[in-house]
Amino acid sequence: MGARLLTSAFFGAWIEEAARSVRAERDELTRLDAAIGDADHGTNLDRGFTEAVRALGDRRPATPGAVLVLVGSTLIRKVGGASGPLYGTAFREAGKALGEAPEVSPADLAAALAAGVAGVRRLGSAAEGDKTMVDALAPAAEALTAALAGAVREGPGADGAPEAGTPAVGRDGHPSAPEDGRDGHPGAPVDGPAGAAGPDGRGLAAALAAAAEAARAGAEATIPMPARKGRASYLGPRSVGHQDPGATSAALILRALHTVAARW
C-alpha cells in the first residue's frame, strides 16, 4: 500500500498477526519451555494474545499509542508468569512512547520499540547474554533504528528477510545471522532506495525485515548461552544447548511486525 504513516489499524493488524503466529507456534514454544523452564510459555502467550485481539475488537483505540498500551495492559492482566509482566511492560512502554498521535512514523515505531526494550530491561534486570527475550528484542530494536537511520547497505533483497512460514526457532544451534546485525550495523537488506529507508511502506518493510532477522538471529544465539535470569537459570550449565522460549517468541512477534508491514 505504501502509506507514509502508521495508523492504529496497522498496529491492530500486527497484534492479530502476532496472535496467529503465536497460536501456530504455541506447542513449539511450550516444548522449548519444557526443556529449560516449566512448559507453559506457548500457552501463556497464546492466552495473552488471544485476549489482546479480543480487547482490540471490543474497542479499537483511536491512536497507535493507545493500541499498544491496551495490548500491554491486557498481557499483564491475562498472562501471568514472567512473560506477562515483561511483554506487557514492553507494549505499554512502547505505546506510551508513541504518545497520542493518531498516526506515527517508522522512526516513531523504532523509538517505541527501543522504549519497550528498555522497559523489559528495567523490570527484568536482564542484560544481553542472559538468555532471555532481551537477546532477541534488543538487537531487533537496534537493527530497526539503524536501518531507518540509513546505515543500510545494498543486499540480496527482500528474499533475505524471514518469510511468514519460516520458523523462528533455530534448528541447528548455529546462529546464521550476520554478526553485524547485532552491533548496530545490520547487514539485512532493504528493498527501498539505498542508503536510507524512506518513509514509504517498502522502506519500512525492509527495515523491519532487518529487525526481524536480528531478532531471529538473537534468539538462535541464545542456544549456547547458560541462562542467568528466569526459570532456566536454575539449570545452570544444563540450560546450554536450548533456545530460550522468550527470545523465540520475541522473534515471532517481530516477524509478525515485518509480515504486516510488507503487505501494508
Binding site: 516444548r31 516449566d38 512448559a39 492482566r77 508468569g81 535470569k229 544444563r238
Partner: protein
C-alpha cells in the same frame, strides 16, 4: 497423558468449583479467581495474601483459613497469578491493618506481585512483601534469579498467619515471616517428571536408573541427574545440601513433602531416614509434617524442608490453625 479433568483449559476453574463445594469455610470468587476466608476481612488484623501457579495443591488455597492465609490467588498451572488477582485478593482481606504478600521467589511471581503491590499502594492499601527463597539447590547470587521459594512457604504462611491472628502489626508479621524464611532451607529430588495438562507430555525424561537432584516445583529439571539410590542415601543427599548451607542443630521443624505422585508409605520411609540424618548432626525433630503440601502435579519424588526453631517460632507453629490442609487446635 491421562488426567482426571474435563479439559486442559478448564482445570483451574473446575478445581476452584471443587474447592468451593468441599470447603464451606472458604469463599471462591470465580470471577476474580481468588479464594478467601468465608468470614470476610477481620478489622484490625493484617491480611495475608499468597499465590502462585496452580498444580502445587494444597498450596495455596488449602492454606486459607483461621491462623494462616486470608486469601490465595491461584494462577494457571505453573504460571504465577496476574496482578488483578492479587489486587482483588488484597482488597478483599484488607481489614485496615495492612496486607502482607507472601511471594515465592520466581521471576513471574515477583514481577506480578510487584506490579500488584504498586497498584495496591496507589489505591491506599499498605502492602509489605516477603520473599520466600529456601531452595538450596539454586545458587544465590545477584546475577541470577536467586533461590526458588518452595517448601518453606508453608512454614512462613503458618507462622506469620498465627502472629497476624494475635493482632500484631504489619511490620511484626513481616519480620517473623522473614525470620522463618531466613531459618529455613529445602532440597527436592524427583523420581519422575510431571505432565502439565496443557503440554500432555512429561516435562523431562528420566530412565529407571536415574533421579533428578535439586528439582524445583514446576517440573523443571534439577541441577543434576544422578543414579537412583535408596531412601537413606537420597535423603542423605538432601540433608547434606541443606546442612552445608545452614548448619543443622537444636530443635527443628521438618517437612518431608511429597511431590504429588509419591505414596504416603514412601514418605514415611523417607521421614524415618531424615530423622536419622538429623540426629546424626545433632538436630532434633521437634515438629514435623509428612505428606503432600507443595506438589508438582503428578511428579514422583519428595522434598525436605528444615526450619531451625526458636521458642517464638515453635509457639506460633503450635497455635491453632483451621485450613483444608493444615488443622489443629480447633
Amino acid at each position: 497423558m491421562k488426567k482426571l479433568i474435563n479439559g486442559a483449559g478448564s482445570v483451574v476453574a473446575d478445581a476452584l468449583r471443587g474447592i468451593a463445594a468441599a470447603h464451606p469455610g472458604l469463599r471462591v470468587d470465580a470471577e476474580n479467581r481468588i479464594v478467601v476466608r468465608a468470614g470476610g476481612p477481620s478489622p484490625g488484623k493484617v491480611g495475608l495474601v499468597s499465590g502462585g501457579g496452580s498444580g502445587h495443591e494444597p498450596l495455596h488455597a488449602g492454606f486459607v483459613g483461621y491462623g494462616m492465609l486470608d486469601a490465595a490467588c491461584p494462577g494457571e498451572v505453573f504460571t504465577s497469578p496476574v496482578p488483578d488477582q492479587v489486587i482483588a485478593a488484597s482488597a478483599a482481606v484488607h481489614g485496615g491493618a495492612g496486607v502482607l504478600h507472601v511471594v515465592k521467589n520466581y521471576t513471574g511471581d515477583v514481577l506480578n506481585f510487584q506490579l500488584a503491590a504498586e497498584l495496591c499502594a496507589e489505591e491506599g492499601m499498605e502492602v509489605t512483601s516477603v520473599l520466600v527463597d529456601d531452595d538450596v539447590a539454586v545458587r544465590d547470587s545477584l546475577h541470577t534469579a536467586g533461590r526458588r521459594g518452595t517448601g518453606a512457604t508453608v512454614f512462613v504462611e503458618k507462622i506469620a498467619g498465627a502472629l497476624a491472628e494475635t493482632g500484631a502489626p504489619l511490620a511484626e508479621v513481616a519480620r517473623v515471616a522473614r525470620e522463618v524464611n531466613t531459618r529455613s532451607r529445602s532440597f527436592g529430588v524427583a523420581l519422575s517428571a510431571c505432565t502439565t495438562p496443557a503440554s500432555g507430555k512429561p516435562t523431562f525424561e528420566l530412565s529407571e536408573a536415574e533421579v533428578e537432584l535439586g528439582i524445583g516445583i514446576h517440573g523443571e529439571p534439577g541441577r543434576a541427574r544422578a543414579p537412583m539410590r535408596d531412601a537413606r542415601e537420597l535423603t542423605g543427599v538432601a540433608l547434606d545440601a541443606i546442612h552445608e548451607d545452614l548448619p543443622l542443630s537444636g530443635d527443628v521443624l521438618v517437612m518431608v513433602n511429597g511431590m504429588g505422585g509419591t505414596p504416603l508409605i514412601e514418605l514415611y520411609v523417607a521421614f524415618a531416614e531424615v530423622a536419622g540424618h538429623l540426629a546424626e548432626r545433632g538436630a532434633r525433630v521437634a515438629r514435623s509434617l509428612v505428606g503432600d503440601y507443595v506438589t508438582s502435579l503428578d511428579m514422583q519424588g519428595f522434598s525436605v524442608t528444615v526450619c531451625l526453631l526458636t521458642d517464638e517460632l515453635t509457639r506460633l507453629w503450635d497455635a491453632p490453625v483451621e485450613t483444608p490442609a493444615l488443622r489443629w487446635g480447633r
